[in-house]
Symmetry: none
DNA sequence: GATTATTTGTTCGTATGTATT
DNA sequence: CAATACATACGAACAAATAAT
């Protein structure tokens, strides 16, 4: 009902299929093809736009790749959404809140060692085999809880090795110490959460049953240039920690 | 670190381009075309496989869509990764991306039943004991993966029960079907991720080993008035799915 | 239940455009 | 400028999935 979809939100490729795709996109957001309705058949679109079937199919593929329509043989092409995914804001999951969380925990250093990346570690850290890293292992405690909430392995470049003594004397999050000491800032964080079983060694350190389940959280910290600064791998056993987010759909 | 080990082989589409794509995939994972190397040109692949250029391009598109190669005009096609990600990665920074992800998966209905909330269910859903819910169980598949990536229990209010027949005929995400049919919109999503062990029943449905670890994702969907619309509890076994987020530090 | 019409999916062939070396 | 390689586009035919008869 409201204003002509002002934004050509997406840049149309300067191609024939791009023009067809965006004409259809305008029809969809304009309500001509409502969500759930079927689009014209490929043959009809050929006629309407005066292009070949190949071009029509390229246009529809463009819309499919963006999640706007779905196509099924024998049925047709159905509209899935009125507009390309709008930006919704994640209210809870910001870097600031993440760091806030780590401030409410206490760290205890387990050990530090130098590691040369084998194939598995190289894959984990996204580095070349043979690269040298300094690995810290630390237990993360929450005030008032007897058992640690997690065990974190953190790898830092050996250039930053000077912080090892600092950390030994007073454990803290490595990334903030690196930022202080070396004046670098991390600009981006990638995080991957997967399930894992605790092996005997991890279980003992965490005071958890062996072969019990845990969250395995892998984080990569990058600076503004996309250079990796630090990586960490944490194990958080069942019942002590869960990862909670809250998202709002932005008003349209 | 444990490796997911068994490469969940991608099912090749029973098509000519599917066979070409998987032959190339075998070459890539076999080391014939290492990461960073250039693939043969389209013309060379035509000759090698005895197919048309169109089919070669469809095969390469298949590999591109899976992030294995990249193609640039005037340059060629370059290998980006040695193996297809054998697990689905949910890269989620917004509700939009979450919905986008669910579009790339296929749902298969397991069963539907009416449930009266006992104490445990009431706690899980945040409702009163004795409330009636309709519970769907669905397996979530990723195109090209043999085993399901997860099993999702979804509870909806019995008022929305009319969608049961729809879903039975052609499974889809419940929340979108409810939005279509009843004109309600969810405005907020709360999500909680924790680790869990698969019991025998879940393991059987998921074709996973019993007592293997999984991500347990609980979601609550609310409308604008804070009324709960739907809740879901999903189990995603190790090696098939991971939860991925990317955060940037806000410039100050 | 079988048949037929409809619609998308796959595959060939060919030609021209565009980006890069 | 020329050669190379992917990108776009036209035309045609058959296959597969589905819906309607």
């Amino acid at each position: 009902m409201q204003a002509p979809a002002t934004a050509a939100a997406l840049a149309a490729p300067p191609t024939r299929y791009g023009r067809v795709a965006h004409a259809l996109l305008a029809d969809i957001s304009g309500g001509r093809y409502p969500v759930g309705a079927r689009m014209p058949t490929e043959a009809e679109l050929e006629a309407r736009f005066g292009v070949s079937r190949h071009t029509v199919r390229a246009a529809i593929r463009y819309l499919r790749e963006r999640g706007l329509v779905t196509a099924r043989a024998g049925v047709g092409t159905t509209v899935l959404a009125q507009r390309p995914p709008e930006k919704a804001v994640l209210s809870m999951n910001s870097v600031a809140e993440l760091l806030q969380f780590t401030r409410h925990t206490r760290l205890a250093l387990v050990d530090v060692e130098t590691q040369r990346a084998d194939a598995a570690l190289a894959a984990l850290l996204g580095c070349d085999r043979g690269d040298t890293w300094l690995r810290f292992r630390m237990l993360r405690h929450l005030r008032g809880m007897a058992k640690p909430i997690g065990l974190v392995h953190t790898w830092v470049r050996p250039e930053f090795g000077a912080i090892a003594e600092d950390i030994r004397r007073r454990p803290s999050t490595l990334i903030s110490r690196i930022e202080e000491r070396f004046g670098v800032k991390f600009a981006e964080l990638k995080q991957d959460i997967s399930p894992a079983l605790l092996d005997a060694g991890l279980a003992r350190l965490l005071k958890a049953p062996a072969r019990s389940p845990a969250l395995r959280i892998l984080r990569h910290y990058y600076d503004r240039d996309g250079q990796i600064l630090q990586a960490s791998l944490g194990y958080y056993p069942e019942g002590r920690f869960s990862y909670n987010t809250r998202m709002r759909v932005e008003a349209r």
